[in-house]
């Protein structure tokens, strides 16, 4: 106990003496939080649109109006030259183009189903698909406006329509922040323990104090505990700060139990701290430790369902995600925040996560030796 206290005391002294590091440690998560929360979004808005209207009739203007009215499209260029479209896209001036043929209004009035062209810049595939879906949506609204009018109402009389009333649960505003901020919590709980533990241990290796420490009768568990305890505490402090910012400023709903969150974070943190220790055993310099930790984090992040839903990944990758503790923690966190899920709902994730966390931690401890090389 005496030894443990001495080592923890030393670690804290060192952490608090490193002013620039401390500033970064407390600033960076906030910067990340704000930037992530605002920048990270799968929504596609303000698609720059070019319109080539050969018809120039009242009807075509009405159609264009429907496109312009929405937040989804921003009308940027109106032209009468179809060949300009490619060039404007090459120069990244527009992402989509609407082409209205000269006989649009004529055919429309005669109920002959005119065709309008919608061209999308396929480079950003996701935005392209969304743009097309939005365009279809705009067309629906165009129909919703036109069909009931006396001119076309006869069509309606012959058919029956089902309409749908929809309810969005847990996130009625479809706010992407609500979805992303919990994910940011996960990244913070990953990067801090992983990178800092790894770099901290390797730094001692690099400057030679680790060797001095190994020569003393300090026991392995005392050394490890002393190295991970400060970062465990730090992670919790940052967690609280980030959550406070999330709940108070971003008004992210926190439906679930704080206690459950703290408990499950504890399990996850141990895995990350363990990984930090593991990284420190396979690297010799701080730079290496940093890169290896960074690499691991990126791989875990890509396979966690943060950016890309796991269901959309190819089968092979989906299977690999089962080995990733972040995958489980990500969905646990999201469910606790947004749905208020309790332990009974989360068992399917908690069990594998805890197993992996224990395995990782145990393995890393076993690998760490009070010896050189």
């Amino acid at each position: 106990m005496r030894v443990l206290l001495a080592v923890i005391h030393k670690e804290f002294l060192q952490v608090f003496r490193d002013r620039p590091m401390l500033a970064i440690l407390f600033l960076v998560p906030f910067v990340q939080l704000f930037v992530f929360a605002y920048a990270v979004t799968n929504e596609v808005k303000h698609i720059s649109l070019m319109v080539v209207d050969f018809d120039r009739s009242q009807e075509s203007r009405k159609l264009i109006d429907h496109f312009v009215k929405t937040e989804q499209f921003d009308l940027k260029i109106v032209s009468d030259n179809v060949f300009r479209i490619r060039d404007e896209m090459k120069a990244w001036h527009v992402q989509a183009a609407l082409v209205i043929p000269p006989d649009f209004s004529e055919k429309l009035v005669r109920k002959q189903r005119p065709q309008v062209g919608f061209i999308i810049d396929g480079v950003d595939g996701n935005a392209g698909i969304m743009a097309l879906a939005y365009a279809r949506g705009v067309l629906e609204r165009f129909h919703a406006e036109l069909l009931p009018t006396p001119q076309y109402a006869s069509l309606l009389r012959q058919t029956h329509q089902a309409i749908v009333e929809d309810r969005m649960w847990f996130n009625p505003d479809l706010s992407s922040q609500q979805y992303m901020v919990p994910g940011i919590v996960v990244t913070i709980l990953t990067i801090i323990p992983l990178m800092l533990t790894a770099m901290g241990i390797v730094k001692e290796k690099e400057i030679g104090t680790m060797e001095q420490l190994m020569v003393t009768p300090i026991r392995k568990w005392e050394l490890i505990l002393a190295k991970i305890l400060p970062f465990l505490i730090l992670a919790y402090v940052e967690l609280s700060l980030v959550m406070a910012a999330g709940v108070l400023y971003f008004q992210i709903p926190m439906q679930g139990s704080y206690l459950l969150l703290a408990l499950l974070s504890f399990i996850y943190l141990f895995a990350m701290l363990g990984m930090g220790i593991f990284v420190s055993t396979v690297t010799q310099t701080q730079q290496q430790a940093m890169f290896v930790a960074w690499f691991s984090m990126v791989v875990m992040l890509l396979l966690s369902g943060f950016f890309i839903p796991i269901a959309n990944m190819p089968d092979v990758l989906q299977k690999i995600t089962y080995l990733n503790p972040m995958r489980y923690f990500m969905s646990i966190i999201r469910d606790i925040f947004q749905k208020g899920s309790s332990l009974q709902h989360l068992w399917g994730d908690v069990l594998p996560m805890s197993t992996f966390c224990l395995l990782i931690f145990g393995f890393s401890i076993a690998k760490f030796q009070k010896r050189i090389q």
Binding site: K10, I207, T216, P217
Partner: protein, 245 residues
């Protein structure tokens, strides 16, 4: 009455294809100042690390204070002090804080720690620097602080790896005076150095070249054996004398 504190038999350390320590057999007696001489890269640090129990030997045997370095390294660590070649106190902690830390790690009871801390600060002239970050100490004082720290728990055996590198001759002389004082107190000191003239200060020396012991014995005897006036000459004649690697 003199017992053997360190004994190695055909100790070998290989790193891949490179043999750093090649079948070294030595005995070190209590109260000796044993000098381990050799060029940089000859294997001195590797040898010390094995004796301290922080590097596993590839083959051979070694016992320190009766304990086996392979199996009982943790026991060894309780009774030795180690000053490494590189300065390895915490540069971002003060001298006093380093003492407190290592004292805690060696499980010294508070009053004993305080007593020894005071004594050592005094003895090594570190009093005015007690509150200074060790990283900011002048080089000579860094070495002193490291040595003082190694003596905190009063170990009977001390390993000193190149303790005088980069230190001016006057400070070096002070240092060796201190070593002698420690030996007089009954401590055994294993010192490596590449300053060959320091061999004169040791009771016995061994010269290591490319992992092998090429000479061993009291400095006087070696000088006689090789007919050389100084240990430097002994070294030169052995090492450049077409020795097989």
């Amino acid at each position: 009455m003199n017992k053997i504190v360190v004994e190695t038999r055909d100790l070998v350390k290989q790193f891949g294809h490179f043999t750093a320590v090649d079948r070294v057999s030595l005995q070190i007696w209590q109260g000796e100042i044993f000098g381990f001489l050799g060029a940089n890269g000859a294997g001195k640090t590797t040898f010390i690390r094995m004796l301290c129990g922080i590097l596993q030997p590839t083959s051979g045997e070694a016992h320190v204070l009766g304990y086996d370095v392979g199996q009982e390294s943790e026991q060894i660590k309780r009774h030795i002090g180690y000053v490494s070649q590189r300065f390895s106190l915490y540069p971002d902690l003060t001298v006093a804080e380093n003492f407190d830390f290592f004292g805690g790690v060696y499980r010294m009871p508070r009053p004993l720690l305080e007593e020894r801390k005071e004594m050592l600060l005094e003895r090594f002239g570190l009093r005015p620097f007690a509150g200074m970050l060790t990283g900011k100490l002048p080089l000579g004082f860094k070495q002193r602080a490291a040595l003082a720290c190694a003596l905190l728990h009063d170990p009977p055996l001390l390993f000193l790896d190149e303790p005088t590198s980069g230190v001016d001759p006057k400070a070096r002389r002070h240092f060796w005076e201190e070593i002698n004082r420690l030996a007089a107190e009954g401590k055994t000191l294993f010192v490596t150095t590449h300053y060959l003239e320091e061999a004169e200060y040791c009771n016995r020396i061994a010269i290591i070249d490319r992992g092998r012991i090429v000479a061993e014995g009291p400095p006087g005897a070696l000088k006689q054996e090789f007919g050389s006036p100084t240990i430097q000459d002994v070294f030169v004649s052995i090492v450049s004398g077409g020795e097989e690697p």
